[in-house]
Symmetry: C2
Subunit: 144 residues, 2 copies
Protein backbone atom coordinates (compact mmCIF):
# COMPACT_ATOMS: atom_id res chain seq x y z
CA UNK A 1 0.00 0.00 0.00
CA UNK A 2 2.69 2.51 1.03
CA UNK A 3 4.79 1.30 -1.91
CA UNK A 4 1.86 1.93 -4.27
CA UNK A 5 1.48 5.47 -2.92
CA UNK A 6 5.19 6.11 -3.44
CA UNK A 7 5.03 4.80 -7.00
CA UNK A 8 2.09 7.07 -7.72
CA UNK A 9 4.08 10.03 -6.35
CA UNK A 10 6.99 9.22 -8.67
CA UNK A 11 4.71 8.79 -11.68
CA UNK A 12 3.00 12.07 -10.82
CA UNK A 13 6.39 13.84 -10.75
CA UNK A 14 7.19 12.31 -14.14
CA UNK A 15 3.82 13.45 -15.50
CA UNK A 16 4.44 16.98 -14.19
CA UNK A 17 7.66 17.04 -16.18
CA UNK A 18 5.87 16.11 -19.41
CA UNK A 19 3.03 18.56 -18.74
CA UNK A 20 5.55 21.39 -18.29
CA UNK A 21 7.23 20.32 -21.54
CA UNK A 22 3.90 20.13 -23.40
CA UNK A 23 2.83 23.54 -22.17
CA UNK A 24 6.27 25.16 -22.57
CA UNK A 25 5.85 26.31 -18.97
CA UNK A 26 9.21 27.35 -17.51
CA UNK A 27 7.78 27.97 -14.03
CA UNK A 28 6.27 24.50 -13.91
CA UNK A 29 9.50 23.01 -15.33
CA UNK A 30 11.50 24.83 -12.66
CA UNK A 31 9.24 23.33 -10.00
CA UNK A 32 9.95 19.80 -11.28
CA UNK A 33 13.74 20.02 -11.00
CA UNK A 34 16.11 19.92 -8.06
CA UNK A 35 17.93 23.26 -8.20
CA UNK A 36 21.44 22.05 -7.65
CA UNK A 37 24.92 22.24 -9.13
CA UNK A 38 24.89 18.47 -9.67
CA UNK A 39 21.69 18.05 -11.68
CA UNK A 40 22.32 17.02 -15.28
CA UNK A 41 20.36 17.12 -18.52
CA UNK A 42 21.05 15.68 -21.96
CA UNK A 43 18.56 16.84 -24.57
CA UNK A 44 18.42 14.88 -27.85
CA UNK A 45 21.48 15.87 -29.89
CA UNK A 46 22.80 18.25 -27.22
CA UNK A 47 25.92 18.02 -25.14
CA UNK A 48 25.60 17.20 -21.43
CA UNK A 49 24.45 20.13 -19.31
CA UNK A 50 25.29 20.36 -15.63
CA UNK A 51 23.70 22.48 -12.92
CA UNK A 52 20.26 24.01 -12.74
CA UNK A 53 21.17 27.44 -14.25
CA UNK A 54 22.41 25.84 -17.51
CA UNK A 55 19.46 23.45 -17.56
CA UNK A 56 16.99 26.27 -16.95
CA UNK A 57 18.51 28.29 -19.81
CA UNK A 58 18.21 25.29 -22.14
CA UNK A 59 14.50 24.92 -21.43
CA UNK A 60 14.00 28.64 -22.01
CA UNK A 61 15.61 28.26 -25.48
CA UNK A 62 13.62 25.12 -26.29
CA UNK A 63 10.32 26.63 -25.18
CA UNK A 64 10.99 29.83 -27.14
CA UNK A 65 11.71 27.78 -30.28
CA UNK A 66 9.05 25.11 -30.20
CA UNK A 67 6.28 26.54 -28.02
CA UNK A 68 3.70 24.09 -26.76
CA UNK A 69 3.75 20.55 -28.17
CA UNK A 70 1.73 17.41 -27.83
CA UNK A 71 3.84 15.00 -25.79
CA UNK A 72 2.92 11.88 -23.93
CA UNK A 73 5.04 9.45 -21.94
CA UNK A 74 4.38 5.86 -22.99
CA UNK A 75 5.37 2.42 -21.67
CA UNK A 76 6.58 3.97 -18.43
CA UNK A 77 8.73 1.77 -16.19
CA UNK A 78 9.52 2.82 -12.62
CA UNK A 79 12.05 1.51 -10.16
CA UNK A 80 12.78 2.91 -6.70
CA UNK A 81 15.36 2.20 -4.06
CA UNK A 82 15.33 4.33 -0.96
CA UNK A 83 15.15 7.99 -1.88
CA UNK A 84 16.13 7.51 -5.52
CA UNK A 85 13.79 6.56 -8.33
CA UNK A 86 14.40 6.13 -12.02
CA UNK A 87 11.86 6.13 -14.79
CA UNK A 88 12.34 5.03 -18.38
CA UNK A 89 9.73 5.78 -21.01
CA UNK A 90 9.06 6.64 -24.61
CA UNK A 91 8.37 10.30 -25.29
CA UNK A 92 5.78 10.48 -28.05
CA UNK A 93 5.84 13.92 -29.64
CA UNK A 94 3.52 15.46 -32.21
CA UNK A 95 4.68 18.82 -33.54
CA UNK A 96 2.47 20.85 -35.88
CA UNK A 97 4.34 22.40 -38.79
CA UNK A 98 2.43 24.33 -41.46
CA UNK A 99 -0.66 22.18 -41.33
CA UNK A 100 1.10 18.83 -41.07
CA UNK A 101 1.86 16.91 -37.90
CA UNK A 102 5.39 15.55 -37.40
CA UNK A 103 5.56 12.54 -35.10
CA UNK A 104 8.75 11.69 -33.29
CA UNK A 105 9.71 9.39 -30.50
CA UNK A 106 12.47 9.60 -27.91
CA UNK A 107 13.66 7.15 -25.30
CA UNK A 108 14.21 8.82 -21.95
CA UNK A 109 15.65 8.12 -18.53
CA UNK A 110 14.57 10.39 -15.72
CA UNK A 111 16.09 10.14 -12.26
CA UNK A 112 14.32 11.61 -9.23
CA UNK A 113 15.54 12.12 -5.70
CA UNK A 114 13.22 12.49 -2.70
CA UNK A 115 14.24 15.83 -1.23
CA UNK A 116 12.24 17.47 1.56
CA UNK A 117 9.57 14.81 0.97
CA UNK A 118 9.16 15.67 -2.72
CA UNK A 119 10.41 13.74 -5.75
CA UNK A 120 12.62 16.15 -7.72
CA UNK A 121 14.23 15.52 -11.08
CA UNK A 122 18.03 15.31 -10.94
CA UNK A 123 18.75 13.70 -14.34
CA UNK A 124 16.96 13.83 -17.67
CA UNK A 125 18.45 12.09 -20.71
CA UNK A 126 16.46 11.75 -23.91
CA UNK A 127 17.67 10.37 -27.25
CA UNK A 128 15.86 9.45 -30.46
CA UNK A 129 14.21 6.01 -30.41
CA UNK A 130 15.02 3.80 -33.40
CA UNK A 131 12.78 4.32 -36.45
CA UNK A 132 9.63 2.26 -36.66
CA UNK A 133 9.04 2.34 -32.92
CA UNK A 134 6.13 4.77 -33.07
CA UNK A 135 3.05 2.72 -32.36
CA UNK A 136 -0.32 3.35 -30.78
CA UNK A 137 0.38 1.28 -27.68
CA UNK A 138 3.17 3.64 -26.76
CA UNK A 139 0.58 6.34 -26.25
CA UNK A 140 -0.66 4.55 -23.15
CA UNK A 141 -0.26 6.73 -20.13
CA UNK A 142 1.06 5.32 -16.96
CA UNK A 143 -1.55 6.87 -14.70
CA UNK A 144 -4.70 5.62 -16.47
Amino acid sequence: MAEDVTKQEILAANERFYRALAEADLTAMSDVWHHSAITECIHPGWDRLRGWPAIRDSWAVIFANQGSVQVRAGDVLVRRRGDVAWVTCYENLAVRDQGTVQMSQMLAINIFERIDDRWRMVIHHAAPAPPGMIRPRSWRTSLN
Copy 2:
Protein backbone atom coordinates in the same frame (compact mmCIF):
# COMPACT_ATOMS: atom_id res chain seq x y z
CA MET B 1 37.04 9.08 3.94
CA ALA B 2 34.27 6.43 3.82
CA GLU B 3 32.57 8.50 1.13
CA ASP B 4 35.79 8.53 -0.91
CA VAL B 5 36.06 4.76 -0.63
CA THR B 6 32.46 4.37 -1.81
CA LYS B 7 33.07 6.67 -4.76
CA GLN B 8 36.13 4.65 -5.73
CA GLU B 9 34.04 1.46 -5.58
CA ILE B 10 31.46 2.99 -7.93
CA LEU B 11 34.11 4.25 -10.33
CA ALA B 12 35.75 0.83 -10.26
CA ALA B 13 32.42 -0.80 -11.17
CA ASN B 14 32.06 1.68 -14.03
CA GLU B 15 35.61 0.92 -15.20
CA ARG B 16 34.88 -2.83 -15.10
CA PHE B 17 31.96 -2.23 -17.44
CA TYR B 18 34.15 -0.42 -19.98
CA ARG B 19 36.91 -3.00 -19.69
CA ALA B 20 34.41 -5.79 -20.44
CA LEU B 21 33.16 -3.77 -23.43
CA ALA B 22 36.71 -3.11 -24.68
CA GLU B 23 37.69 -6.75 -24.40
CA ALA B 24 34.35 -8.10 -25.71
CA ASP B 25 34.32 -10.28 -22.60
CA LEU B 26 30.82 -11.64 -21.99
CA THR B 27 31.78 -13.30 -18.70
CA ALA B 28 33.18 -10.04 -17.34
CA MET B 29 30.14 -8.13 -18.66
CA SER B 30 27.83 -10.62 -16.96
CA ASP B 31 29.68 -10.03 -13.70
CA VAL B 32 29.09 -6.27 -13.93
CA TRP B 33 25.30 -6.47 -14.24
CA HIS B 34 22.57 -7.22 -11.75
CA HIS B 35 20.85 -10.32 -13.13
CA SER B 36 17.27 -9.27 -12.73
CA ALA B 37 14.04 -8.94 -14.65
CA ILE B 38 14.05 -5.18 -14.04
CA THR B 39 17.47 -4.24 -15.39
CA GLU B 40 17.33 -2.17 -18.56
CA CYS B 41 19.70 -1.34 -21.38
CA ILE B 42 19.46 1.06 -24.30
CA HIS B 43 22.30 0.68 -26.80
CA PRO B 44 22.83 3.53 -29.29
CA GLY B 45 20.10 3.25 -31.91
CA TRP B 46 18.48 0.21 -30.27
CA ASP B 47 15.09 -0.13 -28.66
CA ARG B 48 14.90 -0.45 -24.86
CA LEU B 49 15.83 -3.90 -23.56
CA ARG B 50 14.51 -5.19 -20.26
CA GLY B 51 15.75 -8.06 -18.12
CA TRP B 52 19.16 -9.66 -17.96
CA PRO B 53 18.53 -12.46 -20.53
CA ALA B 54 17.70 -9.93 -23.29
CA ILE B 55 20.62 -7.70 -22.24
CA ARG B 56 23.02 -10.63 -22.18
CA ASP B 57 21.93 -11.67 -25.68
CA SER B 58 22.48 -8.11 -26.95
CA TRP B 59 26.06 -8.05 -25.67
CA ALA B 60 26.70 -11.44 -27.27
CA VAL B 61 25.56 -10.01 -30.63
CA ILE B 62 27.57 -6.81 -30.20
CA PHE B 63 30.74 -8.65 -29.15
CA ALA B 64 30.39 -11.11 -32.07
CA ASN B 65 30.05 -8.21 -34.51
CA GLN B 66 32.63 -5.72 -33.27
CA GLY B 67 35.11 -7.80 -31.27
CA SER B 68 37.44 -5.88 -29.01
CA VAL B 69 37.52 -2.09 -29.30
CA GLN B 70 39.40 0.76 -27.75
CA VAL B 71 36.99 2.49 -25.41
CA ARG B 72 37.59 4.91 -22.59
CA ALA B 73 35.17 6.68 -20.28
CA GLY B 74 35.89 10.41 -20.10
CA ASP B 75 34.65 13.31 -17.99
CA VAL B 76 33.06 10.89 -15.54
CA LEU B 77 30.59 12.37 -13.05
CA VAL B 78 29.35 10.33 -10.10
CA ARG B 79 26.49 10.89 -7.71
CA ARG B 80 25.34 8.55 -4.96
CA ARG B 81 22.42 8.51 -2.59
CA GLY B 82 22.06 5.54 -0.29
CA ASP B 83 22.44 2.33 -2.22
CA VAL B 84 21.95 3.88 -5.66
CA ALA B 85 24.62 5.60 -7.72
CA TRP B 86 24.52 7.10 -11.16
CA VAL B 87 27.40 7.86 -13.44
CA THR B 88 27.39 9.99 -16.57
CA CYS B 89 30.31 10.00 -18.93
CA TYR B 90 31.50 10.22 -22.51
CA GLU B 91 32.35 6.93 -24.15
CA ASN B 92 35.29 7.53 -26.46
CA LEU B 93 35.52 4.72 -28.98
CA ALA B 94 38.21 3.99 -31.55
CA VAL B 95 37.32 1.21 -33.97
CA ARG B 96 39.92 -0.07 -36.48
CA ASP B 97 38.48 -0.63 -39.94
CA GLN B 98 40.81 -1.71 -42.79
CA GLY B 99 43.79 0.27 -41.59
CA THR B 100 41.93 3.40 -40.59
CA VAL B 101 40.67 4.29 -37.13
CA GLN B 102 37.08 5.49 -36.77
CA MET B 103 36.51 7.67 -33.70
CA SER B 104 33.08 8.00 -32.19
CA GLN B 105 31.71 9.36 -28.97
CA MET B 106 28.62 8.45 -26.96
CA LEU B 107 27.05 10.05 -23.93
CA ALA B 108 26.08 7.48 -21.33
CA ILE B 109 24.19 7.15 -18.09
CA ASN B 110 24.93 4.13 -15.95
CA ILE B 111 22.95 3.38 -12.80
CA PHE B 112 24.33 1.04 -10.16
CA GLU B 113 22.66 -0.49 -7.12
CA ARG B 114 24.55 -1.78 -4.10
CA ILE B 115 23.42 -5.39 -3.84
CA ASP B 116 25.05 -7.82 -1.40
CA ASP B 117 27.71 -5.15 -0.83
CA ARG B 118 28.64 -4.91 -4.53
CA TRP B 119 27.77 -2.14 -6.97
CA ARG B 120 25.90 -3.79 -9.84
CA MET B 121 24.74 -2.16 -13.05
CA VAL B 122 20.96 -1.92 -13.36
CA ILE B 123 20.68 0.64 -16.20
CA HIS B 124 22.90 1.48 -19.14
CA HIS B 125 21.79 4.06 -21.70
CA ALA B 126 24.17 5.31 -24.37
CA ALA B 127 23.39 7.63 -27.26
CA PRO B 128 25.61 9.43 -29.78
CA ALA B 129 27.17 12.66 -28.49
CA PRO B 130 26.71 15.66 -30.76
CA PRO B 131 29.37 16.04 -33.50
CA GLY B 132 32.44 18.03 -32.64
CA MET B 133 32.54 16.85 -29.05
CA ILE B 134 35.50 14.51 -29.53
CA ARG B 135 38.40 16.19 -27.84
CA PRO B 136 41.54 15.10 -26.05
CA ARG B 137 40.36 16.17 -22.61
CA SER B 138 37.54 13.65 -22.84
CA TRP B 139 40.12 10.90 -22.79
CA ARG B 140 40.84 11.68 -19.17
CA THR B 141 40.11 8.69 -17.02
CA SER B 142 38.39 9.11 -13.74
CA LEU B 143 40.72 6.92 -11.75
CA ASN B 144 43.99 8.63 -12.58
